[in-house]
Symmetry: C2
Subunit: 341 residues, 2 copies
């Protein structure tokens, strides 16, 4: 089985964006806020948006199942207050849940949280609980910078985040550390902010002893870990300067990287440098880079081709495609086992 | 000849830091500001600080010449106002000039600018002029985020920066795009902020048409280009989405990467992905990562070993070690030629 652990609902019917635009336009005017019930998207519309996009490409590429969460760039936790984020997260998670119900063999949800800058992270727990218990979510996306490129929240090692970690540990679910759109003109969202956040989050883990406090906490760093594997020697050396244990002991029981790296040399570096047990297959499809690479004639984000063309043996490939995902996402494993898979 | 284009004076005598601490302590009390003349460092002290550190390692590693600028993390452009930055830049540049005079065959200066957040960049021109005309500086370090991790300046493509670009073009000098210390708790200085800035700067160039406005402007992106070469497919794909030309035409006449990547797989990726004409040898020694890699028994930052162990042919290696530096830093080339080199 091939599991893509990083897919977002980037192709939701237009009505979702229209509803969101109304919600944002009404910020500051509670009476004008659109009602959740005013968002009408039929099952057929959902089916079409998936079948013609993600599912079509999954079938073409031979992917079986995607861990599917709301569109990352649309989370926009910096917009409005907690009430705005809360309603928006509920709407987005409900849609991913419906996609899961329509395509139970192909999409398993991960939850977006109703984060809001400066607001107690514990306020996100009810939505997390709903997603895990009612929707079958197997993971969350955790935004280390809900300000959208101003980085006003404390580092991930700070006690600010502990309430959500306690709930993650209780449910045994991992978090993908994933920022949203940048509202800082310095940072292009998918070309800078996403990759920077990946590197930043990893370094926040490296400089701290977070995983001593939470030995079973698990973070997935997306986009191939940002700059981390390319600079693995730098990070090993920095850990040494900081008198931390070797990275394999300090971080690699808890930190995992996905394979959203859109060319062969990048995947070869990732799989050559990072232990195979810490690499999870993903493509973030349909996402930031939708085109066809003129150098290969294939989609940039068809990351399965790079894994297949790498020098990994069958055992390593199985771990990356399936085994590691079942280990890092035990609730996914349980769902699959319940189906006899 | 082997030219290291990225060295900072990280080993300056303690008196420099003491003077700086006095300067910072007196911010807001102009009458208590230490005088520049109160900083007394003898030639012998300078000699010792270099001979026992950078020059010793250069000799051990077989490096001939370093382009040498003030300590990047100490620039701290966010501290104080323009007057503070101006005096501090003048002090630091004067020291690098003295190192150049003491070791003219081994150190050639690059200038730190007296940037200050929100202040017109044209205020940096007098120091730039002094450095180029009096000190023989062959480049500048340009800080894209003088706020120190809050990213409050406009992107490098903004007209805000044009006055400095015009002067760079006039003098035909490149800028290394290099941030300073992070005062944002989210960003570890050398493990996150530096690499993020590299990626951010590259993406600012990619999304803009800066090099159409300044066809001869040249940027060196340090630390192996941050996350860029590892994600070269992503950046090619993003350029395509944005209807920009191929990166080789859009950016690679103007953007260059150094080799401050501290392990063999990273250097192999860099040299495999980026055209050899765009790679400049550097180690940023003595810098963030000073230890010995237990996996190799050699210093992490002994980047010459990685270049030597790569599959590059002699012609490519010559470009990386010397040829490209002479082309990207024409004032260095002129100085070398004047010596018959």
């Amino acid at each position: 089985m091939i599991i893509d652990i990083h897919g977002h609902y980037t192709t939701a019917p237009k009505a979702l964006e229209t509803w969101r635009n109304r919600q944002v336009a009404a910020i500051g005017s509670p009476s004008e806020q659109p009602k959740v019930a005013e968002l009408n998207i039929s099952d057929d519309e959902l089916r079409e948006s998936i079948e013609q996009n993600q599912l079509r490409l999954m079938r073409e590429r031979g992917l079986d199942l995607t861990i599917f969460s709301p569109r990352a760039s649309f989370m926009a936790h910096h917009v409005g207050d907690f009430a705005v984020s809360s309603t928006w997260a509920a709407v987005c998670n409900a849609l991913c849940h419906r996609v899961h119900q329509l395509f139970p063999d192909h999409f398993v949800p991960a939850a977006m949280l109703p984060q809001s800058p400066g607001v107690d992270i514990a306020t996100c727990i009810p939505e997390l609980v709903r997603c895990v218990e009612e929707y079958g979510s197997v993971a969350i996306n955790l935004n280390p910078d809900p300000s959208g490129g101003h980085w006003t929240s404390p580092p991930l090692s700070d006690r600010y985040w502990y309430p959500i970690y306690e709930k993650m540990v209780e449910y045994d679910i991992p978090a993908m550390i994933h920022v949203s759109t940048s509202c800082n003109a310095c940072f292009h969202t998918t070309g800078a902010h996403y990759l920077n956040a990946d590197t930043t989050a990893f370094m926040q883990c490296l400089t701290s002893d977070l995983f001593r406090a939470f030995p079973t906490l698990r973070f997935v760093i997306p986009h191939g870990g940002g700059a981390v594997p390319y600079h693995w020697g730098r990070f090993r050396g920095l850990a040494q300067e900081l008198k931390k244990p070797l990275l394999k002991d300090h971080l690699l029981n808890n930190v995992f990287f996905d394979t959203c790296v859109y060319h062969q040399p990048g995947i070869d570096l990732l799989t050559g440098v990072i232990p195979v047990d810490n690499i999870l297959f993903a493509s973030e499809m349909i996402g930031a880079v939708r085109g066809i690479d003129p150098e290969t004639g294939h989609h940039y984000d068809d990351t399965k081709r790079y894994i297949d063309a790498s020098s990994l043996d069958a055992g390593a490939r199985h771990k990356i495609y399936e085994g590691n995902a079942r280990r890092v996402y035990p609730r996914l494993d349980a769902q699959l086992k319940a189906k006899g898979l």
